[in-house]
Symmetry: C2
Subunit: 401 residues, 2 copies
Amino acid sequence: MALINGHANGITASDIKLARKNGVMSNGTHNGLDNKKPIINFNPGPAKIDPSVLLRAQAEILNFQQLGISVMEMSHRSADFAKILNGAKATLTQLLNIPENYKILFLQGGATAQFSAVPLNLLQRSPNCSADYIVTGTWSAKAVKEAQKYGKVHIVHQPLEKYSRVPEQEEFDLDPEAAYVYYCDNETVNGVEFSYVPDTGNVPLVADMSSNILSKPVDVSKFGIILAGAQKNIGCAGVTLAIIREDLVGYCMKQCPTILDYKIQIGMDSLYNTPPSYSIYLMGLVLEWIQNTGGLLSMAKKCVLKSQLVYSAINESNGFYSCAIEDGSRSRMNVTFRIDGPAGDSELENAFIEESKAANMIGLKGHRSVGGIRASLYNAVTLEETQFLVNLMMDFQRRHS
Amino acid sequence: MALINGHANGITASDIKLARKNGVMSNGTHNGLDNKKPIINFNPGPAKIDPSVLLRAQAEILNFQQLGISVMEMSHRSADFAKILNGAKATLTQLLNIPENYKILFLQGGATAQFSAVPLNLLQRSPNCSADYIVTGTWSAKAVKEAQKYGKVHIVHQPLEKYSRVPEQEEFDLDPEAAYVYYCDNETVNGVEFSYVPDTGNVPLVADMSSNILSKPVDVSKFGIILAGAQKNIGCAGVTLAIIREDLVGYCMKQCPTILDYKIQIGMDSLYNTPPSYSIYLMGLVLEWIQNTGGLLSMAKKCVLKSQLVYSAINESNGFYSCAIEDGSRSRMNVTFRIDGPAGDSELENAFIEESKAANMIGLKGHRSVGGIRASLYNAVTLEETQFLVNLMMDFQRRHS
């Protein structure tokens, strides 16, 4: 069974086969999973990391590049850690072709901390202390609630019924004096993703890309700020990426906790205080893996292929499987569906989850707030793994419809 | 050379010898360090982690407890991660004998984020929105600046000349209506540590123990809140511990970012959003290592022995080495000293740093704001390693005085 997607860093398929044989890799014995077969990880986040990345981390964990210490034991103000930090920035800059007038920050607290940081840093750019928000799911709705603590929030479109689509550009009623326009490019809970970048004229666009960053090429110059927690597409939990156009900095509210102040963080190059150094290192390894396996065009192609495999299985199921999300808004990262009609049959859905576990698949249960099934197909999930899911879906349908 | 302090988790000295021989452990080749000898790590933080902890992390990084996935790939809402989180809480509760009316949180942003969180969460307990602060060094001074954004700050003693001592209890002018009294139990930059717990009557005491937590037994019931970043004594950067007396919660200011709201974090058991899961796992391993190597009494004994070794070398140097910190306030964790008089001779100090590197010691340069030499002797640093430093000091003095 080919689980391996990329062999960056000189790690070969046979290294990984050997590692697995030696019991250091993805064989599972707990929770009713079969210890003879690898786990297929569809977790919504934290999520799968390519095994070549974990093998490299394993090799270096006690002695990073013959320095004699772990990255975890390294001073964040040392030249050695500067190489790690600057290396991650350089790879990211290459991958996303980030223009020179943008700064890259490695922060803490996840996108949730940025729900506060964005209004605290930007609202005062607007004469009315007001910002525009697009609300397409659970996460953008949470961002609105947080921004309302600090100023006025204007939702720029009619409410979306059950978050089943993203609005069209024509539906937006944008305020030219807004401090910024905020949106979430991919909503993990609902499975909704933008297929276009909203045009906000001169008002800076702030995008939460926590769940789809580096899954496709992006024209960074269209954005004021791009935010992303690492734990879905670019590493492990504990570090949050912020890519910030430098002219947007300097409007921070006095009440902003220093830790969330972009100007101070930029001035100190993410080292105002001790950063989450190991998570930054791990992100650097994932960025190199993306670069060495074809970059963003390759990732984008793979993400389309994987999600189309599952959406096709849904479309061709004669209604046995159904996806509530409209065509054109369906997420390439999180495919959500119900079994036996749009409302779902909880007994059948539970049976599907049980059968998926018997096939060593984990993470397929839908978010507790919406139910159903959700397959998260982030960058590290392979086409082969996705095909196993589709095989299960077709087999399950044959036996249960 | 015996680098190994504890052999928790069934890892023996010969395992570690073998690992080092195989090039996966602390031998250094860069930066002029000798690749034949292990590194001796006196970093002020991030700092040394016991090799048995790193070896266990290495063994489990691709396949945690036969689950077939890494801790980094695990859903933070899974039963498996709950075991890791609850395991760390249980070990910490045992080690510190934490009473039932305290909650344990794993947060992000370091102590710096807590400099904001403490006033945001507690100031409204006071009718005057006022808090008392004890300022004994760089970190408590930073905490004051942050608190001043949100309310009144009253420094409860006369300014301390050059932070060379901690004030006595009798010097405190405490406000019985203060929301809380804040202090930093050990100041890493200056090398000042409290040898007693300030008595604040009915006003809750908030302690930043980032640099000395779990280096000695502590009566938790004397504190309202204990805070600690992990990266010095209890793991790697990226997670911050907060131990909070539950009756102090519920006074949060409306402007507080949700991520810093203790009530919400307690309600969600540190899982309001994705926590820094790998850093929490690593902290759990360090807590087990402390437990398996004799607990806090053993750590406390070792910390006194190590620091006394260095302070004795200073005291017996006939003024060649001098420590600006008064007896009774000298830190067991960060021993700061100058060479050739209290002002220091920068040429000799640079020579000492160079010689220490030649002896494979790292992290001895004093903080950039104060200069001189600083030896950080956190829990994972061994008595043998400290003795090597003392040997260097005595040898250096013979050759340079």
